[in-house]
Amino acid sequence: MLRCEKLQLRYDDFSLAAELGFAAGRITALIGPSGAGKSTFLAAIAGFLVPAKGRVIWAAQDISALSPAERPISILFQDNNLFPHLTITQNVGLGLRSGLRLTADQRAQVAAVLDSVGLAGMGARKPAALSGGQQSRAALARVLLADRPLVLLDEPFAALGPRLKDEMLDLVQQRLADQGRTVIMVTHDPADAKRIADAVAVVADGTVAAPVATRALFENPPPALARYLGK
């Protein structure tokens, strides 16, 4: 379980408070209006921002002081999830070790994970030679290989078409959540949340609300969510 204890993020006149926990092995969606701080909150969990106050705790261990790479976390950003000058194999291989030289065994692992996300035989290509959907799959392959228990998704599939996006979301569910990983995903689309999220936390009005089971939340949305959904 990931816990945020009295977490406070402050930036100029923006501030966000979070006091909540995320259930292990589940997918939790963060939903809320633009500028509410969804990505900022994710960045703080990942270790890119230093919170003004509070702690981030994973499996009873305080990880607040750890650097991003030291945290048990994989993250996918909105863009720049692949190094353009490296091949797909090299990019995915970075999930195994922070270097480019892979053993034969590691190369086999990369090939297998590429196969599992539908990119068999594309390892030698550069990202620019792949379609948008394929690039997302490659990034996801790296997350799979990195084998960290907590996965943060900052709308990495936002640029994809609806069918491709749904494919990717299903892949996240099958390959990450169903294998026991904890997923926190930012989304602005309630359909995404309804499709795969077990619970939803609303980010609005300077706070991150505690997650509520997805169906229950959308059947009876709190005022902030109702405003966002336009109801």
Binding site: A46, A69, G99
Partner: protein, 506 residues
């Protein structure tokens, strides 16, 4: 809330590089000042020199930048056979030793030059290159290539995706893409050229026509060489630093921020390609202006090639070694400082431009002398000084690229645990390969042609190619010297081309 200082790269290499720069600029100045007895204030002649220095530097920089914009734009938009070779060749004047370039300019614009012979043949009045306009002409000749390269880099740095976006929106490309880019690139380009011209010495003197074209640097030379007045030299050098500081602050005030973001390295066709004739006309004019004087240097020097003594080849080899060493050191320093980033680095990056070459040389001499014989360390000191003096140009090319890599891929690098050497080797160096190659070539070529600090240190066995050329001239061997100039020109261009080509080959 603070962004976490993600310790992707350690800071000590940058600190080390910065220290070296400080020692060789402010440290050498201090070394000179410490030996000085301060007596004199500024005379009328000094004020006249300061006025002249500022005026010519301002106009030289302004004209160079204004002319460079259409040339860079034309080069950015057109693809034609030999374009890359042309870009390399257009860079040549900046790489030349002053004395060689002046010979080329005089062969075209001088009293007995192509232009005036043409005018007289056509029954027109000849024009004189000598005077204020001659100084400006020569400075534009030297610095237009630099301005074109910097601004061209700005254009090429706009991701092709942005042009596609702008085209799809039918938006005015100039307004939404090019003007913001120019706002970010032009002030610093202007500053660099302004500072180069601020410390100009031989150009202003040779083409200026007389003492009214006296620069501060000449006054420093006089103080050091003829009056041995170290105090005066130190004071004038401080004034040069002061002028530099003011110029730098003004330039930073008007510099826009460049927020183009990353593209995906795709070559995407452009949609704003009307009026090709005008573009080609601009390119042709610039090429003629820059290439004809070079051609004259080659033409005049070819007969002298057969007269070159063997010592010239030894000197050439020595120059190549110094150039390669300088380039490697300079790039290491630039990358270290670039990874460090921030305002301090920006200051350190322009400091060498404001330094008087003579004061740096004299100060280095005073620092070195108590410990060892100056000629023993002549090549080493030359290497260090050349690397430092070229640093502003190399840093100018590399730092924005590093900053872009950090901004675009820093989070990804941090999340996959790439730090220190791995981050540098796997991500930064491949991503900045193009500006790195350009920077290395620039430093190597500048170092090849440099005739600054070596003259103060070198004995016979430390002779570099420019010094050998100068000594040939001093011994009446003008033809052989012209031949040596061709060798120098050829080697400078070759070494630049090799580095630049390495950067572009992906």
């Amino acid at each position: 809330m603070a962004h976490r200082a993600i310790t992707i790269s350690p800071r000590w290499p940058g600190v080390l590089a910065g220290t070296l720069v400080l020692v060789l600029t402010l440290g050498t100045l201090a070394a000179v000042a410490l030996r000085a007895e301060f007596a004199t204030g500024l005379g009328v002649a000094d004020w006249a020199a300061i006025r002249f220095t500022l005026t010519q530097a301002f106009l030289s920089a302004l004209i160079s930048v204004v002319l460079a914009i259409p040339v860079a734009r034309a080069l950015a938009r057109r693809r034609f056979r030999g374009r890359q070779a042309l870009i390399t060749l257009l860079g040549a004047p900046f790489l030349l030793p002053v004395i060689v370039a002046i010979v080329g300019l005089i062969a075209v614009f001088g009293r007995n030059g192509i232009l005036n012979n043409g005018l007289v043949w056509a029954g027109l009045e000849p024009v004189s290159i000598y005077g204020f306009h001659g100084v400006i002409l020569a400075h534009v000749f030297f610095n237009l290539p630099l301005a074109v390269r910097f601004i061209l880099q700005g254009w090429l740095a706009i991701p092709a995706e942005r042009f596609r976006l702008a085209a799809s929106l039918n938006a005015p490309i100039g307004k939404i893409l090019e003007i913001p880019m120019l706002r970010a690139v032009v002030p610093s380009t202007f500053l660099v050229i302004f500072l180069i011209c601020l410390t100009s010495f031989a150009v202003a003197l040779t083409l200026g026509g007389g003492p009214k074209s006296t620069t501060v640097e000449l006054a420093i030379y006089q103080a050091l060489r003829f009056d041995f007045d170290l105090g005066r030299a130190a004071m004038l050098a401080c004034i040069q630093f002061g002028l530099c500081a003011v110029a730098a602050v003004i330039a930073w005030q008007v510099t826009g921020t460049d927020a183009m973001g990353a593209g995906f390295d795709r070559t995407v066709a452009r949609w704003d390609m009307r009026r090709p004739v005008l573009d080609y006309l601009v390119i042709t004019l610039a090429a003629l202006f820059l290439v004809i004087p070079l051609g004259m240097v080659v033409l005049r020097g070819l007969p002298g090639l057969s007269q070159l003594p063997s010592s010239v080849w030894a000197a050439a080899l020595r120059s190549i070694c110094v150039a390669v060493g300088s380039a490697m050191l300079c790039c290491t320093m630039a990358v270290s400082l670039g990874l460090w980033g921030g305002r301090v680095v920006a200051v350190i990056g322009v400091l060498p431009l404001a330094a008087s070459g003579l004061v740096v040389g004299t100060g280095a001499f005073l620092i070195v002398y108590p410990f060892t014989s100056p000629s023993d360390v002549a090549l080493l000191v030359t290497l260090l000084v050349n690397a430092t003096l070229a640093l502003p140009f190399v840093l100018r090319a590399i730092a924005p690229a590093i900053a872009a890599v950090q901004a675009d891929f820093g989070p990804l690098g941090a999340s996959v645990g790439l730090t220190g050497w791995g981050w540098l080797r796997i991500v930064v160096l491949p991503r900045i390969r193009r500006p790195l190659g350009f920077g290395a070539g620039l430093c190597a070529a500048l170092s090849m042609g440099d005739l600054g600090v070596i003259t103060l240190f070198a004995g016979q066995s430390e002779e570099t190619l420019p010094l050998a050329m100068y000594r040939l001239m001093g011994a009446y061997r003008m033809e052989a010297a012209a031949g040596a100039a061709v060798v120098l020109l050829g080697l400078s261009l070759l070494i630049f081309w090799i580095c630049d080509y390495w950067g572009r080959r992906c």
